[in-house]
Amino acid sequence: MRSETFKAALISALLFLLAIGAWHLATLPKESAALAGADAEYAALMGAGAQQPGGFPPPAEVGRAFVHYLSDPFYDHGPNDKGIAIQLGHSLARVALGFLLAIVAAIPLGFVIGMSPLLTKALDPFIQVLKPISPLAWMPLALYTLKDSNVSGIFVIFICSIWPMLINTAFGVASVRRDWLNVARTLEVSPVRKAFLVILPAAAPTILTGMRISMGIAWLVIVAAEMLVGGTGIGYFVWNEWNNLALPNVIFAITMIGLVGMGLDAIFGRLQKLVTYRE
């Protein structure tokens, strides 16, 4: 078992180095004749990009972007230029707020729906229609009605994280084993105690699965939402560097988004393990 983990890590590392190597070879600067004929004055006004059309940045340049941004993650040069940690902090705060609101709304509603077959059927068409709507499609509507771009961003997170949680909660609650409910009834347990001591623990793994899916979606959506709304956050950072056509910085930001997403998923994975029980 141990040696297998070690081997897997070794293969991962090799793949990584191989990819970087291939990338490096593919982006080696070519001898350019493009500007050879132009005079020096003209050449001075042109960018490096003009010499290598297609100009994808080599790994060394991306590496420099990593060093540059990670060496000072907390700087603040005015409202439009902040360090990477501050940007990620803004994004995480938005996600956390929207996600918490979604929990507050989805878990109780999911309980009610899960316990009543009638409501399940009655609400099903609404859920089915609202669920597949891309959260970003809500953005213009949210901006118009909520009249605040920050609140709109949080709303978009809320609306995209609510559905998986709602459906999973309802499903988890509905599929609690009959025997356990019957035992509770025989012991004349009050409905509130039954909900908290029987149904909640039984449905918890399913509910957390819903939350884990929701968090994944929320982190995907926040980047797009911030690219639309701007201001602060990692999505704004990507937009701002795209604006400057600075691909090394964009690649750096993409990597950071991936790492933070992985971290979030790992946290929910842990939580999921905590509430799982063996029968």
């Binding site: 493009a34 004929g37 132009a38 004055e41 003209y42 001075a44 006004l45 042109m46 960018g47 990009g49 003009a50 010499q51 059309p53 100009g55 040069h77 005015g78 409202p79 439009n80 230029d81 901006l143 118009y144 009249k147 605040d148 771009s149 690219m227 639309l228 709304v229 701007g230 201001g231 704004y236 937009w239 701002n240 560097e241 795209w242 604006n243 400057n244 056509l245």
Partner: protein
């Protein structure tokens, strides 16, 4: 004290030391190194002295004869300088001090951005954050939502918003024009041999927004060459930052976009500058400094202070001497986030055209702030021409309601700038004269139109 004393017989009030400004006061406002209060005092005194002595030679003779201090005592016994200065200042009661101003990261926004690092806002007692915004639709929504107190806007946007075209009707005013000229038609390098617009049939073009000068100028330009912009070419709305990437990918054949993105396409070797927008209409407005009418009404003193700061910034930006420094200040990530040489080429007008040549066009970009009514009328004629508005249009009423020309004149006088006396100005667009007195006839005079 750099600003000259109007009671000094040895100095002229009608010319400045460098000779490029109407008066020494204006010169100094442009340099903007003076304490705002002293500047204000001098401007008021200068205005009074000019009124008393219309002939500058007469004022000098008078002052030399009686001496400055006697003259000062005599005149201040007649004229309440203190009260006048207080009136011009309108300080002490700013309704709102912390303001948010939005901008799109393009060189058009230079004046309102520069006012921040140069401290022009602070000098007026304002605490302003200038906030970079992702697109024009967002600017519109944030102004309507009052997230921004004032904003960089395209010159036609306040007109469209006030009329309720493309949004819920929200009265918005144009305090100043942000910039004139400074745009260009950029084409993909593969079209180097297609310099005649007649060869552009089927091309895909981009403009930054429906209600933009870019859209109206591009339509005008191709229509003058016999192409119908709605049928013969395709015009898409693409945010400026995405224009270069789309041009590189071949999704676009060209665009009439704001700088620095024209120069950026050249810099990256994907496009060339076909023409500068000044070749279509020299002196055309592009962006404006817009404020919701409600804000103007509720915060008159703050608005006046903001107005003065932006006008001073415009005067500073309009001076070619300051352009290289501006490029330095504007290029970091907090503002435009572009290579310095790109911004410098745009602002100084010495640029690579993408065809292997270096051109020198000093007036490639300008920052004349005066909001001519006739500019607004022209914009409305084009909105009518291309079917964005229908039916009877009260050109002059809308123009005079949205563009704050009288206010601009007043505030310009306060900071020592000389405003033009006219409100309507005739101008030529591609050689064809526009008479603001006959807008309807102008619309009807075009062969290609949607009316």
């Amino acid at each position: 004290m750099a600003l000259h004393d109007p009671f000094d017989p040895h100095h002229s009030l009608t010319h400045c030391s460098c000779g490029r400004h109407g008066s020494q006061a204006e010169h100094d406002a442009a340099l903007a190194q003076d304490d705002a209060d002293a500047l204000n005092r001098r401007v008021v005194q200068g205005a009074v002295m000019r009124a008393l002595f219309p002939q500058d030679a007469e004022r000098r003779r008078f002052l030399s004869a009686v001496g400055a201090s006697t003259a000062w005592a005599a005149i201040s016994s007649l004229v309440p300088f203190g009260a006048l200065e207080a009136m011009a200042q309108e300080k002490g009661s700013l309704e709102k001090k912390e303001l948010k101003i939005g901008f799109i990261p393009i060189t058009c926004a230079s004046p309102l951005i520069m006012a921040d690092p140069l401290g022009f806002y602070k000098k007026q007692g304002l605490d302003v954050s200038v906030i970079k915004t992702a697109g024009w639709a967002l600017i519109r929504d944030k102004v309507i939502n009052k997230e921004y107190d004032a904003s960089h806007m395209l010159a036609p946007m306040p007109i469209a918003m006030s009329m309720g075209v493309g949004s819920a009707p929200t009265p918005v005013n144009v305090a100043t024009i942000q910039n004139v000229n400074g745009q260009a038609i950029t084409l993909h390098v593969k079209h180097k041999d297609k310099r005649d617009p007649k060869q552009w049939k089927g091309f895909k073009f981009a403009v930054p927004f429906e209600y933009s000068m870019h859209n109206f100028l591009l339509r005008y330009y191709v229509a003058e060459h016999g192409l119908d912009p709605d049928k013969d070419i395709q015009i898409r709305v693409v945010p400026p930052p995405e224009m270069v990437a789309n041009l590189r990918a071949g999704n676009l054949d060209g665009y009439l976009g704001p700088d620095p993105f024209n120069q950026r396409a050249v810099y990256d070797g994907v496009g060339f500058i076909h023409i500068l927008s000044k070749e279509i209409w020299d002196g055309h407005p592009c962006c404006s400094f817009g404020v919701q009418t409600q804000f103007v009404k509720e915060n008159p003193n703050t608005f006046a202070a903001l107005y003065r700061a932006v006008l001073q910034a415009a005067a500073m930006a309009n001076d070619p001497k300051n352009r290289p420094i501006m490029a330095e200040v504007l290029s970091p990530a907090n503002y435009l986030n572009q290579p310095k040489t790109v911004i410098e080429q745009v602002l100084t007008g010495k640029f690579a055209d993408g065809l292997g040549g270096v051109q020198t066009v000093p007036d490639r970009a300008g920052f004349d702030p005066f909001p001519w009514y006739s500019m607004a009328v022209w914009i409305i004629t084009q909105m009518k021409r291309w079917g964005y508005i229908k039916g009877d249009v009260k050109y002059r009423d809308i123009a005079e309601q949205v563009y704050l020309l009288t206010d601009a004149r007043k505030r310009m006088a306060e900071v020592g700038l000389v405003a033009p006396k006219d409100a309507y100005q005739k101008f030529k667009v591609m050689g064809k004269e526009f008479d603001p007195a006959k807008p309807e006839a102008y619309v009807g005079s075009f062969a290609i139109r949607r009316t």
